[in-house]
Symmetry: D2
Subunit: 152 residues, 4 copies
């Protein structure tokens, strides 16, 4: 599903399409669906860098979303082919920030920006208590920080 490997500072891409169930009566994909697309991009990014989120949860490391910002530039429509861009923006002691973009990809390859956003996730244990991000997770994420950014 993801079309190229993640690299520092650039967007990793996951492909999906707009499902009928995701549309609303305005004839667009409902705005809440972009939140799930961002998540799908993040999950694929983590799997592609060798750090599947599924395995993290099995170790008792949960990463709930604590902050969301989305700006909608153009609507997504049923059967639109989408590229979900994901890149790591910041890495802190117990939180991490991703940047996402959603683009419509026309059959001939032309792209239109639909949504831009940021997602901040916290690192918590199984009881919901905020914890420092595990060292191996931080080490796995760090190479993907943008060049100008300074990590923890």
């Amino acid at each position: 599903m993801s079309s190229f490997a993640a690299s520092p500072g650039s967007f990793h891409e996951t492909r999906t399409e707009v499902r009928y169930a995701e549309t609303d009566q305005m004839g667009y994909a409902h705005h809440s669906v972009a939140v799930s697309w961002f998540e799908l991009g993040r999950v694929t990014w983590m799997r592609d860098i060798g750090c599947p989120y599924r395995d993290l949860e099995r170790r008792g490391v949960l990463m709930p979303v604590v902050k969301l910002e989305l700006t909608y530039h153009a609507p997504a429509r049923f059967e639109d082919q989408l590229g979900i861009g994901t890149r790591l923006l910041e890495l802190r002691r117990a939180t991490v920030i991703f940047e996402n973009k959603i683009e419509r990809i026309e059959p001939e390859g032309r792209r239109t920006l639909l949504v831009l956003g940021r997602v901040e996730l916290a690192c918590v244990d199984a009881t919901g208590k905020v914890q420092r991000m595990p060292k191996d997770l931080q080490a796995a994420f760090e190479p993907y920080l943008p060049p100008t950014s300074v990590g923890v």
Copy 2:
């Protein structure tokens, strides 16, 4: 949210309304949403008979859906006020069957049938293994079986 107590053989009712996010580009509530409305009716029914599903799960009793049948008679539209009817139909060793109906309720009280359906749930433990329904759960459900039906 539920407007009257459950009684044997008759429908218990939970009220809700069609959310914008539940509509699709046909201008109706998406057909998959009826499945969640049935569930909302079931959850309220269980809470109203003194057996909250939340407490069951805490005891390690899970009730996944194993079979669904729905017939759609008329569409539900945005802001429609709905009555979710729920009644117990059958109680077996390790499964239970509910019947549900969704009706649109007009401001003046007139009702239109939108969806009819049946949901069969199994009783499983935390590992997903089918288990006999706990005796207290069966005892709590039995009084609500339809008069003509024969329980376990």
Copy 3:
């Protein structure tokens, strides 16, 4: 569903509960669901001030979301009873900004803040072109602006 009338600057409240279908495997309501709760609050607010969104769309006035900001303070869990607070924050030529909060309401009445956020909507015609907000809609909204805020 809404428990009191809207008044300028204060939060209007719509009640709902966390549905099983809205939970995720973390055991919380999925973070994207808060976006739909905000919408449910907005829709009820509009109906309560005498301006149902359903009627607006029938006149060809659409109000797509163009910007979203959410901060998650505590998780919502299955069967939690929620209060969705909605208040008008700003009214511009062609956009409107609402503030929302989600609170868990315990049986004894105690409240816990779960989510805070802002939603900006644009006014567009049936072709998706941004248009000035209709005069009657603006007149209906204006009385609910916070006292210190200056409208268009």
Copy 4:
């Protein structure tokens, strides 16, 4: 997304994966999501036989679901890779029946059946009135009827 062309009587396949937002607190994909997977399979099937559903709706031909039957054999879990099987089962004057199956596909290729089901759709016009299926649509579907089945 679809891995091979449709052929009469056999299952056409669309691939997808279980999204985090689709899980529930039981740790499985919520049972209502299978309904959307069936739809995704159907939409891809229609596009692959040269009859995109998007174009149908633009011509004023709507195909709402009127009947659903699903049997759940095993749960789908987060990040599971799924094959959605779709095949045409029956073609009547104004309705069409599809059969669907959902299988989990392990990295090494082994498949496990998760869900089986049938979906009946009606052909209606923009006002919701049932209409005879357009001749070109019927002609496009007919070659995919199972060999033993007799069409209209």
